[in-house]
Symmetry: D2
């Protein structure tokens, strides 16, 4: 069984020195959990850094006090979370740096990290978009615009299913947006093979759990706003739209993406509507999807007519894709699900780490 | 203030004798609550009947034991719920009969009720569809097909906003489906005024709370299935589709309706995607909607760009409609919300009662 | 039927001029909803005031923009919410002022309101406690301590079931805490009749929905903290403890009260453990409870062995009380439920208004 | 770091042949997940058996179709779930059999399994209670009462923290009840060291998520019953009470245990009230708890005054214990949390497997 294999090789600790900046948020906590349990990283403890602002005054803090659910025992020594400093990263010989920070912070720090020889996996939106028109939504300011542009040109969009080999050699991996991942993985195989009538337009009606809105207490993350509710937002202007356009090669009027806030902690379900271009049948579509993801361990393609749901993917790094074709043979409904904190953030970041290091892509993720 | 007015006239009890068959379900409980508090029905107690099968053995039961939340006091006499019999309805002089029963039962009983001179408001799907091709989904069997066809022809689809005057004189009102209500109310004004490019198709991505799935414990209504989850179902075959086609005058390939099961007790939010036909602006759309619903007290039209959400309508009989127009001036996103047990079922049934009796349409519903 | 009676008398509008300060919070919204629909207040619109800080800059705002769920129509005129000023209250001839504000604010404003001749129903904890040792938990500061002490002495604890006649004549009613209401109503009849062995101690394990924590977005009201969770807090120091001691006549070591945060929007369930003092049976207990609440329309006593649950009281002003006696005839478990925003706050405030005005105690609350 | 150690030894696959009967339920699914990922069981696939009744007709089924969330890939071969037969267990050389079945079934099958030389870990309540008076609540019927009594006498209560060495050599391990585990682990250290005044009585107010009620759709597991609700049940007669009495050495009037149904999928929080016997301080209590669990990797003791909550233990095999001592130095409140499907069922079963096999107790559980 290949799974036993993977476990066996997994035990060869790599000695790789990693660091996570921004461990206090939801994605940061999942990153810490995954890295601490990652077979290749046994024997080394990642460096955990808080945000510069929040923790600098507070000094070092126990990771287990910050996130009690991560404690592996009571009483004994715990990994420390310390304020961010370059010296510390340098002293600990950091080779790979994960950034789970606001995009402004990321845009500022990544050039420095690259200059210091680290490889970076950035979970923010700061480096995902190559077309300045799309990136404008982030209102980024660069101290050295020309250098930033060069770095941007070298950044790889961290979707291993689409850019595996580029990620393997990348210095800077821009981890995709959670919504974008769910939509891109469902559509890319069909668009690339010309199966969709793009002129008829694509609708992506997406729904996400509240962790996608971040840890800051706001009126919209208040339990009383989110619970027993559903609301649409960012109807024509969500920041993940640019990722859809660039990764799927679409024009802005070819896709309409609407996010909704679901009253659940985690999980995204995207219902995607498109028209088939030719005479493709359900069998063709399933075959195309399976073929596209034959070597992608973190995508599970469902049989035609079997739709995934959020419970199937919560607490996993899988993206599940299912679909149905209408009785007219023209209308296509795709359903794509993932856990926004894992395949939509921290899990995909570790998947990128695996690819960057030449390890099994699913290591530490099953 | 007109609200004070309506309260004042409300106090003239009508003496109307009503009955509810199927009071044990969720819609039945809401009906009981609304009728017991209805200003026009003070002084009379509706006749409450259970399902023939479930309660016939059990005999009479207190409404307050069946639904403790409805009790208006502790200890004293409570309305009784008795097994269904025609004699009882006749003896109590029932003038208006609400049926909150499975559609097969409704199809069987409604002809008899009409024959006995009662007016009927039926909450099932049995009498909503006029085109036999659409109605086929219900697999209805009629003892007397010709009589049933005549009755069907006379049945009025109970959407007061569309069929107010026909409802006023109807003997049989077929209360609309919950999903259908939310979608029809958002689209009808725009389709009737030719503002939509129907050839480009309409997508209605709808999400409903679990009460819409009924009171029977099933694998899909189990808390462990519904909670923390979202799932699409009935993608190309939901029974409410026929209502959309008939009430909106659409062809089956012009609208795609996909329901989803939300992890909340009550509420529907439908996100509807369409293309504008001409040069209509957001101002035009808002004006059209407001004009259409100027005399409809139970629809609240939002200002352009303000989207309703389920919390705004839960526990009310309102349908809230909002929309946004895309930057290209062509793409339209409508959001329509209602409480599936009220405007989507029992509340709309009482609204129909009001119309049938010539009372204020919102009486007992604010 | 007495319910029809109450409706009939309800229509005599009183012309009473009311005001609500602090309408932006959850209790404030419920107060606005109840007052706008109150039969005795038809024809007059309450004055709605925001918090001094939050709204003074913003100027007037529509109540329906603040709380879209309260809108009774779309488009037309809406009640205004304006910044708090004494002039405004005076100009509108305010007779009864509801305060749904932080206790510091209440402590400051109530003396002025009383001095201006208004009757006050205060929803904060500022005026509930008569023993300074108990009140110390609120760290109150009075500009004129002697005057405040006199006012405190005249303040009536707004539990109509215990203090109906005092409330009827009161100038200042201190509306009880939500937890305290649920516990006091279950225990008072049994303690007053000497049925409990107080030396063995009473445990009140109480659980509340998130609305009890207020509208401010904090780490503990974040959906990700409250959802799928349960947590105990304030174990030996919750501020409602003093109300229990004073209203039940207990010593601090005779009752242990532990609140928990439930992952639901609204509702409190208190499970209360006590030992019976003598030979009282379940029949005696039920009889004692029923007798005590014979003239209290907002308390529903359950039959012995029938326990209430939150769904029975959510969105109602009832407090439901049930109990079981152990097989040893000594151990007693009481369960008391209410909706923390209604019987635990705004509903009880309106109940107090009814008592203060000599109206039916349940008017506008059924 | 000992964690790296444990990982390293974990890679020595044992070749142990396990089987799970009753894999269709919630605990069964968690067992399948844990065993498939258990480091010691790599290279062997457990035998998965459905219930005799449910699956015998259906024949073999894919584990991944039964529980899509468990699929480790799409398309490839999946473990099979087959109807239960003794031949199959024998043919596959089953050494350890997990039973996640109703207690009646377990009581019937366990003697046969033992007779065939298997070691059994039983997740039902069938074999937990040694005192027939306590066991009577299960209404068990034995074909051979004398043999069943002998087997019962040899059965070990599967709480590793209390019975580690007996479990190591046991043939039959009766996996504890979920509620019982949370309460016993909090109280045992304090009762065994005489720190509690048992004559004053102990109250255990426990709250559990819905998965504890099982997979069968019933009125009480319906989403509409459980969501937004809290209810107490089984107040003086819950079946786990006998476990408390036997494991803690208490008389029935010394402890009152009340379970409640929480509106969450998983997790138990027990709030436990007791009186201290002597002059023990918070420091003494914390020291006693830490000392008792010094070698128990799956219990996390919190610092005095730090209370655990369900989010800290969900999806883990930890039991978290915290406490506060009242200002009088006499009153003690303990809070104990665990995931009812893991430490309360499947996780504890795997912990018992580890102990029975001499492996690290937390292997496959961190």
């Amino acid at each position: 069984m290949e799974q036993a294999e993977s476990k066996k090789t997994a035990t060869q600790a790599s000695g790789l020195r990693t660091a996570v900046a921004g461990v206090s948020g939801y994605a940061g906590a999942e990153l810490a959990r995954l890295l601490l349990a990652h077979p290749r990283l046994q024997g080394t403890v990642p460096t955990f850094l808080g945000r510069m602002d929040a923790n600098s005054a507070a000094g070092a803090q126990s990771l287990y006090d910050l996130h009690p659910q991560l404690a592996r025992h009571s009483g004994g020594p715990a990994p420390e979370v310390t304020p961010f400093t370059w010296e510390q990263l340098q002293d600990r010989g950091t080779e790979v740096l994960f950034l789970a920070l606001p995009h402004e912070q990321s845009r500022e720090w990544v050039p420095e990290a690259i200059a210091r020889g680290m490889r970076v996996i950035d979970l923010s939106g700061a480096w995902r978009l190559h077309d300045p028109a799309n990136a404008a939504v982030y209102k980024l300011h660069d101290a050295d615009p020309a250098a930033a542009a060069r770095l941007q040109a070298a950044a790889v969009y961290g979707c291993p299913e689409l850019h595996r080999s580029a990620i393997a050699g990348a210095s800077l991996v821009a981890n995709p947006g959670c919504y974008a991942t769910s939509i891109i993985l469902a559509l890319a195989p069909l668009i690339q093979t010309g199966m969709l009538d793009l002129d008829r337009g694509i609708i992506a009606d997406a729904k996400s759990g509240v962790s996608g809105a971040g840890k800051a207490p706001t009126p919209k993350t208040h339990f009383m706003y989110a619970a027993d509710n559903l609301s649409a937002y960012g109807v024509f202007g969500h920041r993940h739209t640019g990722e859809l356009l660039e990764q799927l090669g679409l024009q802005s009027d070819q896709i309409q993406f609407t996010p909704h806030l679901l009253p659940i902690p985690r999980g995204i379900l995207s219902t995607i509507y498109a028209r088939l271009a030719g005479n493709a049948t359900a069998v063709d579509i399933e075959r195309t999807l399976r073929s596209f993801y034959a070597d992608s361990p973190m995508v599970r393609v469902r049989r035609a007519g079997e739709l995934p749901q959020i419970l199937h993917v919560a607490h996993t790094n899988f993206c599940d894709i299912g679909f149905e074709v209408g009785p007219d043979g023209k209308r296509l409904v795709l359903v794509s699900c993932l856990d926004n904190l894992l395949k939509g953030a921290a899990g995909q970041a570790v998947q990128n780490l695996n690819v960057m290091c030449g390890w099994n892509e699913s290591e530490g993720l099953l």
